[in-house]
Symmetry: C2
Subunit: 258 residues, 2 copies
DNA sequence: GTAGCTCGTGTAAAAAATACACTAAACCTC
DNA sequence: GAGGTTTAGTGTATTTTTTACACGAGCTAC
């Protein structure tokens, strides 16, 4: 890919071009009130038979994001998934075969869309795990740390951007949305206050449809208004969800000036 | 570094081990009321004579953070600098000599501690630039984008963690602190409200000393109480600075539930 | 028709954010 | 040393946001 012949080159250039890099996806899904992560059982060395994040080497002519998308496509046939780069991990000895740094992404998917494609190259088994159960799994590489970082990032993101909707079906009830926030933020929320807040943002469309097939009073269905959100963004609006458990306020949190 | 002989290997393993990676540092400093970034004039191909971020290849036996620290050490003899990984950049064609992905870090330094070490290997010239002037510089590689990302991250960080103090001398006045926040957040802050907020956090030690050598009423000097901050963190306290320019509140920002 | 669920709603009190202007303390100049 | 210049330091009233909290409505299953 060199265009010019270099005039003054760094020393030992070639010693540096011996590394590889990978992407790993922390794929979040939301089901039955729980936040879940998709893991695969590795079929290849190293860490054969360990649970691990789905990931792969980045091809020589492939961007990082493209590589992350490709993994999702191959694993579950999913396109256009919400992906965000989180952090790179490059400890010297993290991979036994050589120097491999990896870029962690988190992906948010609607679990109903997910149709695993058994591809014996990549994964012997594919399974959703509750986020809370991850520490018991003895994951491959530094994948446990990667999950923690991605989970932290998701917690932060969900408060300042309406990414949570990526985890819900297109039509959802406010209670489902609340449960989602509770699962991500790992806290309980007050029903009335939650609804007041969410509805005051004017980002939900009331579909004037009802839940069906439930053995109790059915709830209204809503839809996230992505278009309106785009407009608001243009105007400099900011979605913001705080948690603010300020039980004692002897040490106040530091809020707005001005 | 291999421990076991692998049994089942991925195909074409060797085709992947041909990449290199680098770290690049966006070094922030604060001087005369302005937020500045340190750039170097490149001496090596590619982009010779372009202004660029200080960065270098990661050595084969070196962690990413270590590499970023090393660059700072070499450039200015600085140890123990506040560093944070921000994002990796891996566009296929970002480096003309081959596949090179880079990890961007931001560094916060006290500008007075900075003593550039002219090292002709690395940098022909080293200069502080106002953040706002960066777009006119025609930087090497994708460094301009990296700076934007780091600046955004700094804006976010400074609201939720007391990292700003890394940019100030150990003893500072409240007005200096306010100017720092104004430079980073790119907004004006109200003096009385700012002071009220900052002091109410109980994280500043009043040194009972005065500024000297100024041609006006001298201000009190303060010190950041890092130890108390650590204690607060343990207790689950959260530093939080919002900006909240809520001129019209027809579209409310989405705050705490509960 | 009633037992068992979940849905949906409002208000009052507390806390936080905002807007705003003058006196105090030092130095400088003449 | 009087007056001018500059920045430091301070308090209050209003608005907005957050919080805490309980019960009737509507559906199903039996």
């Amino acid at each position: 890919m060199g265009e010019d012949k270099p005039k003054k080159l760094i020393k030992d250039l070639n010693t540096y071009f011996k590394s590889a890099f990978t992407v790993d996806n922390v794929i979040f899904g939301f089901d039955e009130g729980d936040l879940k992560i998709l893991l695969i059982k590795r079929q290849e060395e190293p860490y054969t038979d360990h649970w691990a994040l789905p990931g792969y080497f980045v091809l020589p002519d492939e961007d990082l994001n493209t590589a992350a998308q490709r993994v999702l496509k191959k694993l579950a046939g999913l396109d256009n998934v919400y992906l965000e780069q989180v952090k790179s991990f490059g400890a010297v000895d993290r991979h036994p075969f050589g120097r491999v740094i990896t870029v962690a992404y988190f992906a948010l998917i609607k679990i109903a869309d997910f149709a695993p494609r058994p591809d014996k190259d990549v994964a012997g088994e594919v399974r959703w795990f509750n986020v809370k159960d991850v520490p018991q799994l003895d994951l491959a590489f530094d994948h446990e740390e990667m999950i923690q970082e991605c989970f932290s990032k998701l917690k932060r993101e969900v408060r300042i951007r309406p990414v949570g909707f990526e985890l819900l079906p297109p039509k959802f009830t406010l209670t489902e949305l609340q449960h989602l926030y509770e699962a991500i933020l790992e806290t309980e929320l007050d029903k009335r206050n939650f609804r007041k807040k969410i509805l005051s943002m004017n980002l939900l469309i009331d579909l004037e449809e009802m839940q069906e097939g439930v053995a109790h009073r059915p709830a209204k269905l809503y839809e996230f208004d992505g278009q309106k959100y785009e407009e608001f963004l243009q105007e400099g609006f900011s979605f913001e969800v705080k948690e603010s458990k300020r039980k004692d306020n002897t040490r106040p949190s530091m809020p707005a000036f001005n």
